[in-house]
C-alpha cells in the first residue's frame, strides 16, 4: 500500500497532537536497494556536514548510491534540516570478531555519527525501510515527503505532542535502529535505569527523548541476545511477581530468570508502544495498562474488528495484507 492511507488515518488524531512532530516508517520502500542499508540522515548544513558522514561510511564499506530525499516545501513546515539517504554496504571483513558484522558496523556508525553532533543525525538505518519524519502536523510531514509516492507493506505512523524537545526533528517518532522501528506514547519513568543499562552495552542515547531506548533495547534483546519477540516484550513489560508465583514451576523458573536478568531493561511508567521489523509488528503497553491501546484489524474486506486490548503484548506476523494501526500520540 502507498502512504496515502496512513496519512489519512493519522490525520484523525490531530486533536491529540500539537503540530510539532510527526513521522512515518515504511517497510519495503527500497526494493532496488534491498541488500543495502538505507541510511536516512538529517544534515544541518549539507556543504559542511556531509563530508563527515561520507568519510565515515567510506571507511567502513561502500556507498552504492546517495541522494537528497525528495521534499516539497509546505507553508506550515519550516525545513530546518536537509534529509538525505545513503544506500550503504558495510565491509564485513572489517569486523572479524563479530557474528553479525554488517549490523554491528552499521549500528556502531549510527552511534558514532550521532554522538559526534557534527550537524548530522542518522535516524533510519535498516534494509529496505525508511523513516520519514519532521517537526509539524502529520499531513504536512506526509506532504513534505510525499509519502504517497512510497509503496510499503508495513507502515507505522506517529503524531507527537512533545513536552521535552518541541520542534526537534530527531525527537519525532518513529525511532529506528537497523531493522526495528518504534513508535511510543507515554513517558518512560525508568528511562534513567534503561539508558544506563543500554549505554553500558555499547549504545549511546543521543536523541534527548525516552523512546530512543526502546529501539535499542529491542535491538539488544532480539538481535544481540537472540530472544524471540514475545520473550523480548516480556522482558520489557514483565508479569508481576504475584502472577509469576502462580505459574506452574517450569514457567515460573524462566519468567523469574527473565525478570532477574533483564531487570534494568524493564520499562516503567505509562506507555503504549508499537514496534515493527521487516516481518512483524508488535504492540504492547505498560504492565498497569496506564495507557490504552486500540487495535484495529482488517484482515479481509468482509470482516473487521476493533477492540480495546487489555493485555500486552499484541503481536501479529505480517502477511502483507492491508493492516493499519493507529497510535494515539
Amino acid at each position: 500500500m502507498d502512504g496515502s492511507g496512513i496519512r489519512q488515518a493519522l490525520s484523525m488524531m490531530n486533536e491529540r497532537g500539537s503540530g510539532e512532530g510527526a513521522g512515518y516508517v515504511a517497510y519495503g520502500v527500497y526494493p532496488d536497494y534491498r541488500d543495502c542499508y538505507a541510511l536516512h540522515v538529517f544534515f544541518d548544513n549539507i556543504r559542511e556536514n556531509k563530508i563527515i558522514v561520507d568519510a565515515a561510511l567510506e571507511q567502513w564499506g561502500t556507498i552504492e548510491h546517495d541522494e537528497a530525499i525528495p521534499t516539497y516545501d509546505q507553508p506550515n513546515l519550516r525545513s530546518v534540516h536537509t534529509p538525505w539517504r545513503y544506500f550503504f554496504k558495510p565491509d564485513p571483513s572489517l569486523a572479524p570478531a563479530s557474528t553479525s558484522p554488517e549490523d554491528d558496523i552499521v549500528s556502531a556508525l549510527v552511534m558514532r555519527v550521532n554522538t559526534a553532533r557534527r550537524g548530522a543525525l542518522i535516524f533510519s538505518s535498516g534494509k529496505n525501510v525508511g523513516v520519514f519524519k519532521a517537526g509539524g502536523w502529520p499531513e504536512d510531514v506526509a506532504d513534505f515527503y510525499r509519502i504517497e509516492d512510497y509503496e510499503g507493506y508495513t507502515w507505522l505512523a506517529h503524531n507527537r505532542y512533545p513536552t521535552n524537545t518541541p520542534g526537534w526533528w530527531g525527537g519525532a517518532h518513529p525511532f529506528n535502529l537497523l531493522g526495528w522501528s518504534v513508535v511510543h506514547n507515554g513517558e518512560i519513568t525508568s528511562y534513567g535505569t534503561n539508558r544506563r543499562y543500554i549505554e553500558s552495552l555499547g549504545y549511546i542515547c543521543t536523541m534527548y527523548t525516552d523512546t530512543e531506548v526502546v529501539a535499542y533495547l529491542i535491538d539488544l534483546l532480539v538481535r544481540r541476545h537472540g530472544l524471540d519477540l514475545d520473550l523480548a516484550v516480556r522482558a520489557l513489560a514483565p508479569p508481576f511477581w504475584e502472577e509469576i508465583d502462580r505459574m506452574p514451576e517450569a514457567k515460573q523458573e524462566w519468567n523469574r530468570a527473565l525478570r532477574l536478568t533483564y531487570a534494568p531493561a524493564m520499562m516503567n511508567g505509562p506507555f503504549a508502544i508499537v514496534a515493527a521489523d521487516a516481518d512483524t509488528m508488535v504492540g504492547f503497553t505498560d504492565r498497569s495498562k496506564l495507557r490504552p491501546m486500540v487495535v484495529g484489524e482488517c484482515a479481509a474486506a468482509s470482516t473487521s474488528l476493533a477492540k480495546r486490548r487489555r493485555s500486552a503484548p499484541w503481536n501479529r506476523k505480517s502477511n502483507r495484507s492491508p493492516c493499519r494501526l493507529q497510535e494515539n500520540r
Binding site: T189, R196, H225, F240, A263, P264, R287
Partner: protein, 503 residues
C-alpha cells in the same frame, strides 16, 4: 593540678516538686548517675551518657538533661572535642575509643538530594489501587539468557541461574554480632527479619542456638577472626558474607573486650570465656583479590554452591575498583559500608576520619560496574547511615539493590545513640551482656518494633515509587534521572551523576 576536671558534658537535674522518689532512676541508670542519700536523690552528672534511660522511665517527667551546660571559650578550630581529646590522651597516652557512627559535622549528601514525582505527563500510581513491587533479588545474575522455544511453544531455560535471596523489601538488617549486642537484641531483630520477609546478618559472633529458628533469614559472617565459623554455621545460614572491612573503621580489625565474653558468647564464638576476641586487620588468608576469589569459591564449594556469598568492604577511596574486582569473582553481592556506619567500638580517629560517604561510594561503584558492562550481574548493598525510607530510595536511585540498616534497627529497640556501646553497660539491654541489663529488653516487644519500622519504611517506599510513576523497585535502581542535587557542588554532582534542582 595540671589539667584538672573538665566541664561536664551533661547536667542532669531533678525537679523536687515533681519527683516522688520512686528511685526508678537509680535502678535504671547503669552508669551510676543517681544514688540515694537519706532523704535525697543525689546526682553525679559526670557519669551521664545522655542515654535517656532515666528520662524514659521517670513516671513524673521530673528529670531534665542539659547538654554542655558549661562550655569552653568558643573557638572555631579548637573545638571542645579537639581540646578534650588532647586532655584525654595527655593523661592516658592511648588511642581514644568511640562507639556508633562518624560524629564529625560532614555535610550529609542524602539531605542534599531530592526525589522526583509525576505531574500530568505521566500519572502517579496509587499503591492502594495498583501493585507496587518492592521484591528484590540479591545474587548473581547472568549477562544474558538462553531461552529456547520447544515445538509445542513452551519455553526452556538453558542458562543456569545462581541461587538468589528473595527479599520482600530492599531493606535488610546489617551485621551486629552476638557479643557486641545482647542475645535478646539479636533474637528480636532476627524475628523481625523473618516477619518482614527480609534478612539479617549475624556479625562475626557465630550463631547462637536461640537464633536457629530464624536461620533461614540469617546471613552468616566470615570475618578475619573466623569466630564461630564451622561447617554447621555455614550450612545454617541463608547466605554467607565475607567481611573485609567496616565503614566505621576501614583498614583495622575488631576487638571484643574479654568482659563481654561471657559463657554463652564464648560458646557461640568458640573462644575461651573472658578472653579478648581480636579480629585482625586483614584476613590472614587474603592478601590479594585472587585470594578473595579463592575464599569465595571455597565457601561455595563447602556449601555445594547453594548459598549466595557476599563480600563486604568499607567505602574507601577506590571502592569502585575493588567492587569491580569482587564482581569478577563468583561473589553474588558486594556490600559497601559508608563512613557513617555504626560500630560497637572503634578508634575515634578511624570512625571520624577514614573512608568516604556511602552516597558517593554507591554512585561510583555502580558507575564502574556499568562501565564494565557487569552491573546487573552482581548485587550492590549499601549501608552506613541509612536513617529513613528517603535515604533508602536515594541509595537505590544512586545504584544500590538494597540497603542494610543497623543503628536504625537499634533505635527501634530503644537505643538513644549515646555512643557508649563499647562500655558494655547499655541500660537499654542492647549493647551489653550483663544479665540484669539484657533482661530489660523484651524480644517480643522489640521484634515487633523493628518489624514495624521495616514495614513503615516499606510503605513509604511504595508511596515514593508510586508518586514517581514507578511500579517496581528495579526501575528506580540507578535511575539518577529521578534525583536532583540541591546545594551540592558541581564536582560532587558529577560523581553522583545527578543534575541540579531546576535542571
Amino acid at each position: 593540678m595540671t589539667i584538672g576536671s573538665l566541664p561536664p558534658r551533661y547536667r542532669i537535674s531533678i525537679d523536687p516538686v515533681r519527683c516522688m522518689e520512686c528511685e526508678r532512676c537509680i535502678e535504671n541508670c547503669s552508669y551510676g548517675v543517681f544514688r540515694r542519700d537519706g532523704e535525697r536523690i543525689l546526682i553525679n552528672s559526670r557519669n551521664c551518657t545522655a542515654c535517656h534511660r532515666c528520662i524514659a522511665c521517670c513516671p513524673r517527667d521530673a528529670i531534665s538533661l542539659e547538654e554542655q551546660p558549661c562550655d569552653y571559650r568558643s573557638h572555631p578550630l579548637w573545638t571542645r572535642e579537639a581540646r578534650e581529646a588532647i586532655y584525654n590522651q595527655a593523661r592516658t597516652g592511648k588511642i581514644i575509643l568511640a562507639g556508633m557512627g562518624n560524629a564529625l559535622d560532614y555535610p550529609i549528601i542524602f539531605d542534599r538530594l531530592v526525589l522526583d514525582a509525576c505531574q500530568v505527563t505521566s500519572p502517579s500510581i496509587d499503591p492502594l489501587r495498583e501493585p507496587i513491587e518492592l521484591q528484590t533479588h540479591i545474587g548473581k545474575k547472568p549477562a544474558k539468557l538462553d531461552l529456547r522455544r520447544r515445538e509445542n511453544g513452551d519455553v526452556e531455560l538453558l542458562t543456569p541461574i545462581a541461587p538468589n535471596l528473595r527479599v520482600e523489601t530492599p531493606i535488610m538488617i546489617g551485621h551486629m554480632s552476638y557479643g557486641a549486642i545482647s542475645l535478646n537484641a539479636q533474637v528480636a531483630m532476627a524475628r523481625a527479619a523473618k516477619e518482614a520477609g527480609t534478612f539479617m546478618g549475624t556479625g562475626e559472633g557465630g550463631l547462637h542456638s536461640a537464633i536457629y529458628p530464624y536461620q533461614d533469614r540469617m546471613i552468616v559472617q566470615v570475618a578475619s577472626g573466623r569466630f564461630g565459623v564451622n561447617i554447621d554455621y555455614l550450612e545454617r545460614g541463608a547466605a554467607i558474607e565475607i567481611k573485609i572491612g567496616q565503614g566505621a573503621k576501614p583498614g583495622i580489625g575488631g576487638h571484643l573486650p574479654g568482659e563481654k565474653v561471657c559463657e554463652e558468647v564464648s560458646r557461640t564464638r568458640m573462644i575461651p570465656q573472658g578472653s579478648d576476641a581480636i579480629s585482625p586487620a586483614p584476613h590472614h588468608d587474603i592478601y590479594s583479590i585472587e585470594d578473595l576469589a579463592q575464599l569465595v569459591r571455597a565457601l561455595k564449594e563447602a556449601t555445594e554452591w547453594k548459598k549466595p556469598v557476599f563480600v563486604k568492604i568499607a567505602a574507601v577511596h577506590n571502592a569502585s575498583a575493588i567492587a569491580a574486582g569482587i564482581a569478577r569473582s563468583p561473589a553474588d553481592a558486594v556490600v559497601i559500608d559508608g563512613f557513617r556506619g555504626g560500630t560497637g567500638a572503634a578508634p575515634r580517629v578511624f570512625r571520624d576520619h577514614v573512608g568516604i560517604p556511602i552516597e558517593a561510594a554507591v554512585a561510583s561503584v555502580d558507575a564502574k560496574l556499568r562501565d564494565q558492562g557487569i552491573r546487573n550481574e552482581i548485587s550492590v548493598i549499601a549501608s552506613g547511615g541509612i536513617r529513613g525510607s528517603a535515604d533508602v530510595a536515594k541509595a537505590i536511585a544512586l545504584g544500590a539493590d538494597a540497603v542494610y540498616i543497623g543503628t536504625a534497627a537499634l533505635v527501634a529497640m530503644g537505643c538513644r545513640v549515646c555512643g557508649n556501646c563499647y562500655r558494655g553497660l547499655c541500660p537499654w539491654g542492647i549493647a551489653t551482656q550483663r544479665p540484669d541489663l539484657v533482661e530489660r529488653l523484651n524480644p517480643d516487644v522489640a521484634s515487633e518494633q523493628v518489624a514495624n519500622l521495616i514495614h513503615a519504611w516499606t510503605l513509604e517506599l511504595a508511596e515514593l515509587l508510586g508518586a514517581a510513576g514507578i511500579n517496581s523497585i528495579e526501575s528506580l535502581r540507578g535511575n539518577r534521572d529521578r534525583l536532583r542535587g540541591y546545594m551540592l557542588d558541581e564536582s560532587l554532582m558529577q560523581v553522583l551523576d545527578v543534575r541540579q534542582v531546576g535542571a
